[in-house]
Amino acid sequence: MRNFLLARLLQAGLVAVVVGALCFVLMRVMPGDAAMRIAAGRYGPDARIAEAAKMVRLELGLDRPLVAQFLEWLGNLLRLDLGHSLVTGSPVIHELKVQLGASVWLAASALALSLLIGPVIGLFSGLKAGGAIDRLGLAGAVIFRAIPPFVLGLMLMLVFSKQLGWLPPAGFGSAREMLLPALTLALGLAAMSSRVMRNSVAAVARAPYFAFARYKGLPESVVVRRHGLRNAAIPVVSYIALQAVYLVEGVVVVESLFAYPGIGHALVHAVVERDIPMVQGTALAMGLMFVVIAAIVDLLTHWLDPRMRRMA
């Protein structure tokens, strides 16, 4: 248990250092003078750019040795100081707070929706492996896995907001606006988790303890609930840990598509605008979100499977 959390904490630290180092190196390797670029980003490319660049150089200490600069960046990070956005001028951490919250909500609702869809389909497919539901589920999973998330999002947008007019195509604030982006992500996730659930339920259904529960004369629903679900859920949950990548990457795509004001949207914007501190900050936040999701899944598997606790 403590080992889990320690490993995840280490991973979080690793993410922070790697994102920082990567941005730092790229910034220095980039053609042109960093101070010049920052000055141009701040004050616009006018005639007194050289003067402005000199000021920026002094202000940010760009003339000092690289190692010293990098260590200073790390030190600032520890004090939660991520610098200021080159575009808006406000502190990066300030903007991140709002956006990260929005993204976490989106990811959480997508995950919840996908758990309503995927494992349920998987359960019915697995209890009658090879049956009609199983085959339909398989076809659905194959199709939804081959559709890129952005195409799926556009299709949902066209159908539900343009044609039917049920849901708004973009925006933020209420559950109505969240539903389409969350559904886009959830369908992709469910396509995969339904199959994992199906295989795991099929395996449990073949197991002796499952047959024994039936021989005892327990009603079918009790057999499934008490002896099936929990055992079948373990592989699904650990599979979701692998899908944390899909979820975090999907957040970038879906947020940009639906103009949802989260961390992914902010990252894409910062990339387009070359707002390096914002790129660093948003990438850091996304990396940490990824670590947190993985940690939560660790805890869930732990809770679902008491055998792990006894072993640890």
Partner: protein, 272 residues
Amino acid sequence: MSTIGDIARPKGRLTTGRMFGAGLLVLLGGFATIGPVLIPADPAAQDFSASLAPFGGDFLLGADHYGRSLLARLAHGARLSFGLAFLTMLAAAVPGVLLGLAAAWKGGWTERFLELTATIVLALPGLMLVLLLLAFAPGNYGPLFLGLSLTLWVEFYRVTKATTKSALAQPHIEAALMLGFGSRYILVNYVLPVVAPMIATLSTFAMATAIIAVSTLSAISVGLQPPTPELGSMIVELLPYYAEAPVHVLLPAMLIFLLVLGLQLLAQGDHP
């Protein structure tokens, strides 16, 4: 012993799913390679009088809002997607497999160092790494390609390492080692046959991932920029006209879907 055999061999069977995937890929591959040669139309040539032209007539598959031939753009887009995905896959597979072999063969510090590198890459979502690289050179093939291969090599490395390690521990290979057969001979005759089918499967998955990633990034306007006939950006460009020409929007989307579907079916026909 049996586990390696299970993973490596029986999947070679030609199931219907696999056959279908392979057929689909041959068709699309043909369209991507021969299409741009056979179709005389320039994918960038604009003709405003033919804006959103329907099927048939001068344009077999119609024209987009600038009056550019959709057939030509689709063929060039398929070539771009296929080509970029293939290159990305190669750039990920070659170092991944070689490093995996090295780690399994040498062990010790080589393995520890490579393991650490792989862990670091895995700690970051791949798309984020690509976005970071793109931040410094938007709209270029270079960072897109580099970023994707940088994230995809890890999978090749890990699978190669694990398989090679357990293969090397098998009695008949140990015997060959002790009999003094050269490392080259053992790699080619004993290790490669076990690793190769898995690498083939991973390669098709890597290509599918690359195709989706490139089109997605272009669609959210950080990947390749519009004049390039890229399937993802074509969809977004045509989207405002979906009411007048719904099929035109569907065509590039369909093409991506079929490409990815073909690759995925080929990769794991038995149990998707």
